[in-house]
Amino acid sequence: MSDTNEPIGAATVVVVSGGSRGLGLAIVSDILASGASVAAFARTLTPELTALASAHPDRVHVASVDATDRHAVAAFLKAAEARLGPIDALVNNAAVGQDSLHVHTSPDDIARIIETNLTAPLLLARAVLRRILAKGNRGRIVMVTSVCAQRGYSGLVAYSATKGGLDSAMRTLAREMHGRALVNSVAPGFFASEMSSVLGQTQLDTITRRTPSGRLVEPENIVPIVHTLLFDDTNLNGQVITVDGGASI
């Protein structure tokens, strides 16, 4: 299987972490609209995600799982495969934000951010790839990272480190998986809502002013990129696709 030059097929069963709201929920909806199955988890299930599961019982598996609980994640993956079939794709989306100067961020908080935003996604990618390889299959991995991995923003030191770490891991995985998996990152700029809600209005105004397109990123801007990385034959591999209205250029 690893010797084939055939394109890696479109995803059929996709795991989405942090799939209960915002970008994660939008990605889950798009995957369903594309005809694939989705296994989504989040620390807390929302009515929106639960409604999708009820509407598509044969193609959706959801559960309340803490991404940092590796045993719970392993049990989730096993249950998802039993219900939906072999997993062949992952969207590593779950993350926690930060808004504190590094010198005033407690060591415990730094450890928590790293565990949630870097260690947990690495372990999830490992678990999914092990399942793909064990079955002789091929697959696709999408890391949702951040423009913070490429540019400096005050108050986001640990967060930026985790996203940069994930981008680096993505590139190495893309090479390591050598034809068995396409591995890429999507790096959104600041969303107008969700995590950006912790930024002050002054900061958001400044970022908007410095964005050539004149508007902050919305989940709807990211979804088509994730879709392409999951379903299209683009031969993109080991790349970070930045979606930020040109703010970082």
Partner: protein, 83 residues
């Protein structure tokens, strides 16, 4: 943990300002922007307080953004010590 009084914190704030060639205003309602006391100056003051009380005072940036006057600085550092 030992705590610093409001007057002690005010004196330390004056040290931070004087070290930059600035003056500590007599009025606690003085606006921080007008006296040139920036967010990193607050960080320096908080770290000096930490050194004195031998305890970390960690906090999120949104709390810092609420601070506009000398009185706000003193209030916030008192609150952090009491937390």
């Amino acid at each position: 943990m030992s705590t610093l009084s409001r007057d002690q914190i005010r004196a330390m704030m004056a040290e931070v300002l004087v070290a930059q060639g600035k003056q500590m205003p007599g009025d606690d309602q003085a606006n921080l922007e007008e006296i040139g006391f920036r967010s990193l100056d607050f960080s320096e003051l908080a770290l000096r307080v930490e050194d004195e009380i031998d305890e970390e005072l960690n906090f999120d940036a949104p709390q810092l953004r609420q601070i506009a006057t000398v009185s706000d600085v003193l209030d916030f550092l008192e609150q952090l010590q009491a937390a």
